[in-house]
């Protein structure tokens, strides 16, 4: 019962804020609502016995990435008056197609675990597991972990290279 309640609470929070991310006009608000969605998802992670990810989601995702987003939004204070959502005929078509995709996903995933043939989860199967996640990470998934460092190196080079101050832009014909 409690479980149900918390799920609905977080799910509703996540969906409502996600809808707001898409509908509000100001980018800063979008970022804030995105953060809310991420936090709500973190709550669901906790419910799904992913304590480690719960922490990572909050510290890394919300604390790192999203702050970076907000920072950039503030930094580039252009086109403030950009109207964000505006529907017309063409957009209805686009919306229709999106719904065709999303509808398929929702339909397939909403069938339930029996229909999907997923194994029934034993409630205790994933008891406090931060340590085991860590072990996995450094044993069987050591390779992706190591090459992820290359990914970060690339990102670093890129950010520095592109972010460096430069000559004023040359207009192009």
């Amino acid at each position: 019962m409690v479980e149900q309640f918390t799920f609905y609470f977080f799910a509703a929070l996540a969906v409502i804020s996600a809808v707001l991310v898409v509908t509000v006009r100001n980018a800063v608000y979008s970022a804030v609502f995105l953060i809310t969605t991420l936090l709500a998802t973190a709550g669901i992670f906790l419910q799904l016995r992913a304590e480690f990810l719960f922490v990572v989601q909050i510290i890394l995702y919300v604390g790192g990435i999203m702050v970076l987003f907000v920072f950039v939004v503030m930094l580039v204070d252009l086109d403030v008056a950009l109207r964000q959502v505006q529907f017309n005929r063409q957009k209805w078509v686009a919306l229709l197609v999106v719904l065709a995709v999303a509808g398929q996903l929702v339909f397939a995933l909403a069938l339930g675990s029996e229909a999907l043939g997923l194994p029934a989860a034993a409630p205790e199967s994933l008891e406090p597991n931060t340590e085991s996640v860590g072990l996995r990470l450094f044993e069987s998934y050591m390779l992706p972990f190591e090459i992820a460092s290359i990914l970060l190196l690339v990102a670093m080079i890129g950010a520095v290279l592109l972010g460096k101050r430069q000559k004023p832009p040359r207009s192009e014909a």
């Binding site: 017309n88 957009k91 686009a94 999106v98 065709a100 995709v101 398929q104 397939a108």
Partner: protein, 644 residues
């Protein structure tokens, strides 16, 4: 046995010439370029003669003589080596190709003198020779296809040689693209061949085909035959893919002589003859060859009746004569087809070179309505061209007489009297338009400004090849003259081991055969005489008549004059829809309208649509994302709900 072991030498000679002139020719003097180009082709001809000598020493068991140099395509069990082959058919082709091409190289040193792209011209010409030799010497279909595409490419380069003329560049492109349509069929034919026989070299394929029964109904051999025919039709400019050849006359005249008369365009005939075994086992495909050939022969001849550009008349004549060769192959007389190929190479090359000499003499004039009376001014040209005309018209004892006779005889004797009738009609037309040409160009009063144009005979380097070709045009026929005329059927007997002898031949008793031969020869002579007399009467006796006739029969005249409107038809039916699809639908609708809704007037079209598009408010990256989503919807729907 140097050359038999090292067949590649024959190919290497022109290739080296092409490379040398192509890379360094610009820095060399004309004399050096001449020496390299003429030397390369001359040596190739000499090598061909030596090859002939060596070939004569081979025994029948050693044929076909195949030398494989390295394995070229290997994929699983599929193999195609870089292998060259010599047999009787190859030898005839090699001799004709190298011989005629050598003469034309010599001629070109005079004709092209002073042209800005002199070295480039010879580089292309040598390159062409290389590919042509590769085509006739290849021992398997894929390698043959290499030569096939290669000659197409060099012909494209040579047609567009004078690229400052837009028409020349367009003609080059047209030639290449029309040929690609045929090539497409040809390639499919090769695939099908390989699919059926798991091999693509001539020896194994033909051995396998010989084991198969003759297909009375359409089967795989028929399909292969028809696909190969599609390729041959493209390359040899037969109905309905002939449209590129008349336009190809935009190239320099020696090119027209070499590529578009004597050699490359006969590649289609060569392929049909080479695949004789396949066609004999697929009578339906063979009938198609005969019908297409015969129709083309008459059709092109009718167009030739009214053309006024000297080279175009010859171009349609070439198409028509190629039709005869196809007719021969179609009725099973492959040897007769090759015979006509050879004699045609002589007299048609001569006609083009002589025409080039006329054009040269008149300072670039090509319209026969502005010629006339040149007989005495350029006697060598006149004499040689007259010889060639007699040969093509089928005057008795000239080369064309024997070869065309052989074809018409075969058509009749094989029981296709209708084809024979049409062929004979074509012969009348041939004699008519050829003598019309002679009379309009060389007889009558000059119709050009004699003050402005200084008519002069061509230099020795140009007239000597003319004379040599004229001699060949006269005596070439005796190589295969039938017994009836005191000949010995040399060529036919030479070729018999490679080419299937026609089945109907055995059915005839010898005496009946001779009687028939005599009667048909008489008919052919009559046909030629009829054509000659008509031309003589219309263009020498009653010079005002043609215009009257044209006026009285305006509609048919216009139809012929406009070449049955085929170019227009193709443009309307094929080219325009394609361009329309690409420009209107894909470019304007999809790209401009859908993908690029917010385009603020960049391209011309975008500007026109601008207003409407701005209202659509579609942005770029997002429209792209929309396409991704559309694709995603289709892919997921297809995979998840449709595929089981």
């Amino acid at each position: 046995m140097l050359l038999l072991e090292h067949l590649w030498i024959l190919l290497a000679l022109p290739l080296a010439g092409a490379a040398a002139n192509g890379l360094f020719g610009r820095h060399w003097s004309k004399r050096t370029v001449d020496a390299v180009a003429v030397g390369a082709s001359g040596l190739a001809f000499a090598a061909a003669l030596e090859l002939w000598r060596e070939f004569a020493q081979l025994t029948a068991a050693e044929l076909p003589w195949v030398r494989s140099y390295f394995s070229w395509i290997v994929a699983g069990e599929f193999r195609a080596d870089f292998a060259l082959q010599v047999d009787q058919l190859t030898l005839v082709m090699v001799l004709v190709v190298t011989g005629v091409s050598w003469l034309i190289h010599i001629y070109s040193t005079g004709y092209m003198a002073g042209d800005a792209g002199y070295a480039r011209f010879f580089a292309y010409l040598n390159l062409f020779l290389f590919f042509m030799l590769l085509l006739v010497m290849a021992a398997n279909y894929p390698l043959l296809f290499v030569g096939w595409e290669g000659v197409g490419l060099s012909s494209y380069l040579l047609i567009g040689f004078w690229f400052l003329r837009k028409s020349a560049a367009d003609a080059g492109k047209k030639a290449f693209i029309v040929n690609r349509i045929g090539d497409f069929g040809f390639l499919l034919g090769i695939f099908l061949l390989y699919w059926t026989f798991s091999a693509a070299d001539f020896r194994s394929v033909f051995a396998a085909v010989r084991q198969m029964p003759v297909e009375t109904e359409a089967g795989v051999l028929t399909a292969i035959g028809l696909l190969l025919l599609a390729g041959a039709v493209g390359k040899s400019a037969q109905l309905p893919l002939y449209v590129w050849l008349p336009d190809a006359m935009e190239g320099p005249t020696p090119v027209s002589a070499l590529i578009h008369a004597a050699t490359m365009v006969t590649a289609g005939v060569y392929v049909v003859a080479r695949s004789a075994v396949i066609f004999v086992h697929a009578p339906l495909a063979q009938d198609a060859v005969a019908v297409i050939g015969c129709l083309t022969a008459v059709y092109a001849a009718t167009i030739g009746l009214v053309q006024t550009d000297i080279k175009r008349v010859l171009a349609y004549s070439t198409i028509s004569q190629l039709g005869y060769m196809f007719l021969a192959c179609g009725v099973g007389a492959f040897a007769a087809g090759i015979f006509h190929l050879m004699t045609h190479a002589f007299f048609k090359a001569l006609l083009f070179l002589a025409a080039g000499s006329v054009i040269h003499a008149l300072g670039g004039e090509q319209d026969i309505r502005r010629m006339g009376g040149l007989r005495r001014k350029i006697p060598w040209t006149y004499g040689t061209m007259l010889v060639a005309t007699l040969a093509i018209a089928g005057a008795p004892l000239f080369s064309g007489f024997f070869s065309k006779d052989a074809i018409l005889f075969a058509a009749y004797a094989s029981g296709q009297q209708l084809l024979w009738g049409l062929g004979t009609l074509g012969a009348v037309l041939t004699a008519f338009y050829m003598f019309r040409l002679i009379f309009l160009v060389f007889h009558g009063q000059p119709r050009f400004d004699e003050q402005a144009v200084h008519v002069h005979e061509s230099p020795r380097v140009m007239t000597v090849p003319l004379v040599v070709l004229a001699v060949l045009s006269v005596v070439g026929g005796w190589l295969a003259a039938p017994k009836l005329w005191g000949g010995a059927d040399l060529l036919e007997r030479f070729l018999t081991p490679v080419l299937e002898a026609p089945a109907w031949l055995a059915a005839f008793p010898a005496e009946e055969l001779h009687a028939l031969e005599l009667r048909l020869s008489g008919a052919a002579v009559l046909a030629a005489a009829l054509g000659f007399l008509a031309a003589w009467w219309l263009y020498l006796q009653q010079p005002e008549k043609p215009a009257m006739l044209a006026a009285r029969y305006a509609a048919p005249y216009r139809l012929l004059w406009n070449k049955y409107y085929v170019d227009e038809l193709y443009a309307a039916a094929v080219v325009r829809p394609l361009l329309w699809l690409s420009e209107r639908v894909l470019w304007q609708k999809v790209d401009v309208a859908v993908i690029d809704g917010a385009a603020n007037g960049a391209a011309h079209t975008a500007r026109r649509l601008g207003d409407q598009l701005r209202r659509m408010q579609s942005g770029n990256a997002r429209s792209y994302a929309a396409w991704v989503i559309v694709g995603a919807a289709i892919v997921t729907a297809a995979l998840v709900w449709w595929v089981q």
